[in-house]
């Protein structure tokens, strides 16, 4: 049975469309990862599902019943949400955070709610801190409490809105472990995340959002190993890249080289490879192409799937491979020695030299 069905869902702010035509059926026990570039409406979709930001068109069904403003407060009890910024109630301790909903909304007795809360805190490893206040906890601990709070409401579905995005890298693991266990236990979940490995590992199904819609969906295998559509391929294969436009011969080459170095540093590129990338960028761009053509563009990218680095330089002009024209000058030798392969293409009146490592 479908727990959540989205029918032609649409969200727009005045004339600006965030997404439209989103159709999806989520069955009980399914774990759906929602991925995609920033600003493609992943979080907005989640918030439209539980009416925090109601959709401007289309319908949401929860267990076959159409959700509207009248029944949303009741529906939300079964549909928990975990926020990027935790949203723990700062005036209540951990126990209070877990019991306020069950006591006030589900009309449970205090002792019953507390006993249930304690069980859940054990599940997320926070039983020891039942009487700590949110400000006394680390980010990871707060997020685990927030998850337990959803469970305390006996939610049937949990919506995760970037649950690890505001966490320190050192705290990622503890929160992921909790979510992973939850996924294994058969909880129905929608998870918006930027952690690709995590998205792949926990999900039965992956939604890729782009182009103002649900662009491509499939099993983790489909999306991560064999993306069908171009945008998905771009996103999955070349997530990380650095581009730089050179306008004339006197450009700020130190800034460009700094950019390359920064890119390598941010993505923890192996030191040896980072050194070679910088060498190629310096020789190819600074000493060869910028000298002859002035205007050109540089793109350094890393494909996580193929595990290789490519450095591409594009320059306008007649079809000519500058490396061959110059011949065996020192910069050219350095470039060819540093790269695994160097090839020249001529597409749409643009010469493209691609160096692969």
């Amino acid at each position: 049975m479908n727990v959540i069905s989205l029918k032609n869902l649409e969200k727009r702010f005045e004339d600006h469309i965030i997404f439209k035509g989103v159709n999806a059926d989520i069955e009980r026990g399914e774990v759906v990862s929602i991925i995609g570039p920033s600003g493609t409406g992943k979080s907005t979709l989640l918030r439209a599902v539980n009416f925090l930001d109601p959709a401007t068109g289309g319908e949401v069904f929860f267990k076959g019943v159409k959700v509207d403003k009248q029944n949303i407060d009741i529906t939300r009890r079964k549909m928990g949400m975990v926020f990027q910024n935790f949203g723990l109630f700062s005036h209540l301790d951990v126990m209070g955070n877990l019991t306020v909903g069950p006591i006030k909304l589900l009309k449970k007795s205090a002792s019953e709610a507390e006993a249930a809360a304690l069980q859940l805190l054990k599940l997320v490893g926070m039983a020891e801190r039942a009487h700590h206040f949110p400000y006394q906890l680390s980010g990871g601990q707060r997020q685990r409490v927030a998850i337990a709070r959803c469970l305390a409401m006996q939610s049937e579905v949990i919506l995760f809105d970037e649950p690890t995005s505001s966490l320190d890298p050192t705290m990622l693991a503890e929160v992921m472990a909790v979510i992973r266990n939850l996924a294994k236990s058969g909880m129905t979940m929608l998870v918006v995340t930027h952690e690709m490995e995590f998205a792949r590992e926990i999900a039965n199904r992956v939604f890729y959002m782009d182009e103002q819609s649900l662009y491509e969906e499939g099993s983790p295998e489909d999306i991560f190993n064999n993306p069908k559509k171009p945008k998905t391929q771009e996103f999955i294969l070349k997530i990380r890249s650095f581009s730089y436009e050179i306008k004339n011969r006197d450009f700020d080459f130190a800034e460009m080289l700094g950019g390359v170095e920064n890119f390598c540093f941010r993505h923890a590129v192996d030191k040896k490879i980072a050194g070679r990338l910088q060498l190629i960028a310096e020789e190819l761009v600074v000493n060869i192409i910028a000298q002859h053509y002035g205007e050109c563009s540089l793109k350094v990218s890393f494909s996580s799937k193929l595990g290789n680095y490519t450095l591409t330089v594009g320059y306008k002009g007649a079809n000519s491979n500058i490396l061959e024209i110059i011949g065996d000058d020192l910069p050219v030798i350095l470039v060819k020695k540093s790269a695994k392969t160097v090839k020249h293409e001529y597409i749409d009146e643009v010469n493209i030299i691609t160096a692969t490592l």
Binding site: N50, R76, F83, G87, F89, S90, H91, Y135, A146
Partner: protein
């Protein structure tokens, strides 16, 4: 936040300690300065010619000082500060009505003061009774003729103006049932109207009014207030007669009707006679003992302070209570999405915020509640409720705005309705955040109520004014009420601190 609070409380304690210490030291120090000053006794007004003379603002004293003495004039807000400056030698004399000057000079505390009479050729002040009702004035004038004729008036003048203030008030029994005469009085006008033993009113004008009432078979209801309140009271029809030492002037005649003069007063200058000072008077504790005896024990004057204290606390606590409820409603409007609701509430807040409390009190008394017969205290509570509501509402609104919107979303996403989320998450946090300013707002409120004397309520501040005007002690009554206000503040801050402590567990940041 907790730590910061504690810090504030310590700071306040220290400030109180310093304040009390310094105020207690000033009078002792100041009175030490006096002993060196000996300007001798001055018998003729001519010896004051061209000297520095103090006068009361708004009195005719400055005309007299210039026409009779060609003096350099200094203006004062009240007699007591003028007298203190005479003592300190800053001015050479202070002009007052002869009747008042005599009373002051006769007081045991003022043995160092003398009175120099200004001859009647320069100044004569006919004292009258004010009303707005020609019928009452006619009857009063007729009555005045009668007692002038049979000598009662002369006898009264001898009793009240030639003796000291302990002159007994004759028993005048009112048996009539021809209606009630509402009489506005300012019981700080010795020897015309003032407070005797056990807070009862006595004096020359008092006796005159009672005799008048007895003559015509009327009952009398007295309303005591500041001198400045008398004319508005008569003009607005809240009283039939006003008595005190009111000079008949052309200016006043424009708004009220005067009776024939009940007494012809002269002007006099209060001067420093000679230092009367004994060694035993020099210590602080003697000063204190003497002051307590004169200001509190004599005539059971402490009762005035105690009554005033209860009135002040009653007004402040009631205003806080109703103000808080009202503030909740205003805050409700202030946080509406509806722009007009917000504007109306915002306009109310800025209107109240921009109006001085005393003006608001006057407006409530003379305009809003003019035709409705409720007690003056209820009017004061209504006015301060309006003030308190605007500040508490603003305070609560900004506290509500500090609550993290994610927490409210989290509550909504659990299934709380918007009202449910407000009650479970927003309000508890906002109350915690608003509490410190709420506590200090209450302290401000207590202090602000000091102006209710304007509408004839005898609160704590006015109690001190009444005692001061009776004993001519410049320091002690003020010091005493200051101390009481400080104690009220410390106690209320302490109570709020306990409440805050109970609520404040687990505040982030």
């Amino acid at each position: 936040m907790c730590a910061e609070n504690r810090y504030n409380f310590y700071l306040i304690k220290a400030a109180i300690f310093l304040a009390v210490l310094s105020w207690l030291v000033i009078p002792v120090y100041a009175s030490d300065n006096v002993s060196d000053n000996d300007s001798g006794s001055q018998t003729s007004y001519k010896s004051l010619y061209g000297k520095k003379i103090g006068v009361l603002i708004g009195s005719s004293g400055d005309d007299i000082a210039i026409s009779a003495l060609n003096a350099e004039v200094f203006y004062y807000l009240d007699i007591l500060s003028g007298i203190e400056d005479v003592r300190k030698g800053r001015i050479d004399g202070f002009i007052e009505d002869l009747s008042v000057a005599r009373v002051i000079a006769d007081d045991v505390a003022n043995r160092d003061l003398g009175v120099v009479v200004i001859p009647a050729e320069f100044f004569k002040a006919p004292i009258g009774v004010m009303s707005l009702n020609q019928g009452i004035v006619d009857r009063f004038n007729a009555f005045l003729e009668i007692i002038k004729y049979d000598g009662i008036l002369l006898d009264m003048q001898k009793r009240w103006f030639d003796n000291d203030l302990d002159t007994p008030m004759p028993d005048i029994v009112l048996t009539g049932d021809n209606g009630t005469l509402r009489v506005a009085i300012c019981a700080m006008s010795m020897p015309f109207v003032y407070l005797g033993a056990n807070s009862s009113f006595k004096g020359y004008s008092m006796e005159l009014v009672l005799r008048f009432a007895a003559h015509f078979g009327l009952k009398v209801e007295f309303i005591d207030m500041d001198f400045s309140g008398l004319i508005p009271y008569i003009v607005s029809g809240k009283a039939d007669l006003a008595v005190a030492n009111i000079s008949i002037t052309e200016e006043r005649k424009k708004s009220v009707i005067f009776t024939e003069p009940i007494f012809d007063d002269l002007a006099a200058v209060i001067v420093l006679k000679k230092v009367v000072r004994t060694a035993e008077n020099d210590t602080f504790f003697n000063w204190l003992k003497e002051a307590v005896k004169r200001n509190l024990i004599t005539d059971n004057r402490w009762q005035i302070i105690v009554k005033g204290l209860f009135v002040t606390i009653f007004i402040a606590v009631s205003s806080l209570f109703f103000g808080t409820i009202f503030a909740g409603l205003i805050c409700c409007l202030l946080t509406r999405k509806n722009r007009y609701a917000r504007r109306v509430a915002g306009l109310y807040c800025s209107l109240i915020y921009g109006t001085p409390a005393v003006v608001l009190l006057m407006i409530s008394y003379y305009i809003i509640f003019d035709k409705i017969s409720i007690s003056n205290i209820a009017v004061a509570i209504a006015a301060f409720t309006m003030v308190e509501a605007s500040t508490v509402a603003q305070n609560l609104r900004s506290a509500i705005e500090t609550v993290d919107p994610v927490e409210i979303e989290a509550a909504r996403s659990m299934g709380f309705t918007s009202i449910g989320a407000f009650l479970a998450v927003t309000l508890p946090q906002a109350v915690r955040k608003a509490l410190p300013s709420y506590a200090f707002g209450f302290v401000e409120l207590v202090k602000a109520t000091a102006i209710v004397g304007f509408i004839a309520i005898n609160d704590l501040t006015r109690a001190s004014d009444i005692i001061r005007s009776r004993t001519y002690d410049a320091y002690f009554p003020i010091l005493l009420v200051t101390l009481i206000y400080l104690i009220i503040m410390v106690i209320s801050v302490w109570i709020f601190k306990i409440i805050a402590g109970k609520l404040n567990r687990g505040r982030a940041k």
